[in-house]
């Protein structure tokens, strides 16, 4: 029970940081924002690695491996599609002649 309160602290402070930072995100980028935060929260992958790789019964490790697969899918597709979308945001695509 001793280590309970520090984690709650972390959660509350991280939420405030999150609200502060996200509020400033450009409205243009809300779709990439969602895929980026999705990839970031797939950091749950660390839990899946510990369960999959540990010296545990087979059934436990199978659950872990499926979770690991799902998390890695989110990491890979999340970061790749975010970058793909962000690449499309340009100030002026081709040098315009008329002005």
């Amino acid at each position: 029970m001793m280590d309970l309160w520090p984690t709650v602290w972390v959660f509350v402070l991280a939420s405030f940081i999150g609200l502060g930072v996200i509020r400033k995100v450009s409205r243009l980028l809300h779709t990439p924002l969602m895929s980026l935060t999705n990839a970031i929260s797939a950091i749950a992958v660390v839990g899946a690695i510990l369960v999959t790789g540990g010296d545990y019964p087979l059934s436990i490790r199978i659950l872990g491996a499926v979770a690991l697969f799902a998390s890695v899918t989110n990491i890979v597709s999340g970061f790749l599609i975010t970058d793909r979308m962000l690449k499309m945001f340009k100030t002026d695509s081709k040098p315009e002649s008329g002005r």
């Binding site: 999705n38 899946a48 545990y56 599609i81 979308m85």
Partner: protein, 469 residues
């Protein structure tokens, strides 16, 4: 020693995640944000993998490889399908949290029941309930967005629906409560799966009454759930990195959901329990009003004379695959020195920010994409407002008609422009089944036809006529 090293690495990863989101505040630095996110994830994965307790390396390699095999194609979907992909990724995040929680419970039950303190049990049960309900709920949302046959598109409602859902949820909470205080009782391993099943069912029931128009909000809410399930996992595993990343994801989902709700003048509870589909039958049979229609030739002449044009795109533009034609029109007008801005309503498209991405793909500079509040300041100066595939977001009834189902919703005030052209496929009312007064204004001319074809005609008129004037 390893412990200290890994803690430093996790702190670095958390910091990188915060920077990643910070750099999303402008498109100029946004890609740096992706690299920061990748770096943070890579550090955390390597350090965790190096834990002495991790011994089955080939299992990890196999699962990661499979994740790449599925993840890479998923990142290449067309941009119109990004909402489905996003919903699917919330489902993946949910199931990962649910499965890890399930594994942890049975593992500790067998190997060290004293680990299952009431606090950890509560966190663990929150993790699995949120995880599994996000899984099925997001799958339903993805199915609705993808228009999969066996997922009903229309909101499914029945009498006592909220009661049934409430009862189901209350049962799950009750079972969760008794399990949290008796995690090692003889019956506990059998109650646990019951909670899982209830959470899975609840996810489905939560989404079926919600209609297509509310999907942007629902995706954002599911995003918040997925983030919170990661937070709960962080509490179970005592991982501050997970708590931080989950809290960032959760607050992002929350903020986006609030923005979406505000943009539709709805409340959370109204979206989740209100079933938008029901309000449609209001005044279907009013008096028949008269449209004025215009030809592409005539519209092109007006556009040519304009100095400031505002284009208001809606999802109908994307459905008609007209965004590249819109870009050609934009080029033609720019060539003539016309100022062209795009007015973006927050709920234009099928997820937050969707319309910006669709227009960016068509190579339209993001500096010409203007938010609703900003464009409403300037729209009275516009010579032409061109409405492409949008309907409810320009309906003045939202400001004037108290009986309208969309009353109170903030709109793009196209009706203030000097001339309004609205491209519309047919003379039927729009998505929410509501007549749009804008179309009957004396300054509005309708351009009937497929958006892609009509814009194509406008482009042809403008480019053909360029030498003759």
């Amino acid at each position: 020693m390893f412990h200290a090293l890994s803690q430093v690495a996790y702190i670095a990863a958390s910091a990188l995640f915060i920077f990643a989101l910070h750099w999303m505040n402008t498109p100029a630095t946004a890609r740096k944000g992706v690299y920061a996110g990748v770096a943070g994830t890579a550090i955390a994965v390597i350090v965790t993998w190096a834990e002495p307790s991790v011994i089955h390396h080939w299992w990890i390699v196999g699962a990661i490889a499979l994740g790449f095999v599925v993840g890479v194609p998923l990142s290449r979907v067309p941009l119109t399908a990004v909402p489905q992909r996003t919903a699917l990724s919330h489902a993946f995040g949910g199931i990962a949290a649910g499965l890890v929680g399930t594994a942890e419970y049975y593992l500790r039950l067998g190997e060290g029941p004293e680990w299952l303190t009431p606090f950890r049990m509560i966190a663990l049960i929150v993790e699995i309930i949120l995880g599994y309900l996000t899984f099925t709920g997001s799958l339903m949302a993805a199915g609705k967005l993808q228009e999969v046959k066996w997922v009903p598109q229309r909101p499914v409602t029945y009498a006592g629906q909220n009661f049934v859902n409430g009862l189901l949820f209350a049962t799950a909470i009750f079972l969760a409560g008794i399990l949290a205080v008796n995690p090692t009782a003889a019956w506990a391993p059998y109650v646990f799966p019951v909670i899982i099943v209830l959470a899975l069912a609840f996810g489905v029931l939560l989404i079926i009454p919600i209609g297509g128009a509310d999907m942007p909000t629902v995706i954002a809410i599911l995003n918040a759930y997925a983030g919170l399930s990661a937070v709960a996992m962080g509490f179970v595993l005592d991982s501050k990195l997970l708590i931080t990343a989950g809290a960032l994801d959760g607050s992002s989902g929350l903020i986006l959901a609030i923005i979406m709700c505000k943009a539709m003048n709805r409340s959370f509870t109204n979206v989740l329990f209100g079933a938008f589909g029901q309000v449609q039958q209001t005044k279907a049979g009013g008096e028949q009003k008269q449209y004025k229609s215009e030809t592409p030739e005539g519209a092109a002449q007006v556009l040519e004379q304009a100095s400031f044009v505002v284009i208001i795109p809606g999802y109908g533009m994307a459905v008609a695959q007209a965004q590249h034609k819109v870009r050609e029109l934009y080029d033609q007008l720019k060539k003539r020195g016309v100022t062209v801005k795009f007015a973006i309503h927050p709920v234009a498209g099928r997820m937050p920010g969707h319309m910006n991405v669709l227009l960016a793909e068509a190579d339209i500079p993001y500096t010409d994409l203007v938010e609703m509040d900003d464009i409403n300041h300037d729209i009275a100066q516009a010579d032409v407002a061109l409405v492409v595939g949008a309907n409810d977001v320009v309906n003045p009834a939202a400001k004037t008609d108290k009986s309208s189902p969309i009353y109170g919703m903030p709109i793009i005030e196209a009706d203030k422009a000097r001339t309004i052209f609205a491209i519309k496929r047919s003379k039927n009312p729009g998505f929410a089944g509501i007549d749009n007064e804008l179309y009957f204004s004396d300054r509005t001319w309708m351009l009937f036809g497929d958006a892609k074809a009509v814009i194509g005609d406008l482009v042809k008129e403008l480019s053909g006529g360029s030498g003759m004037h």
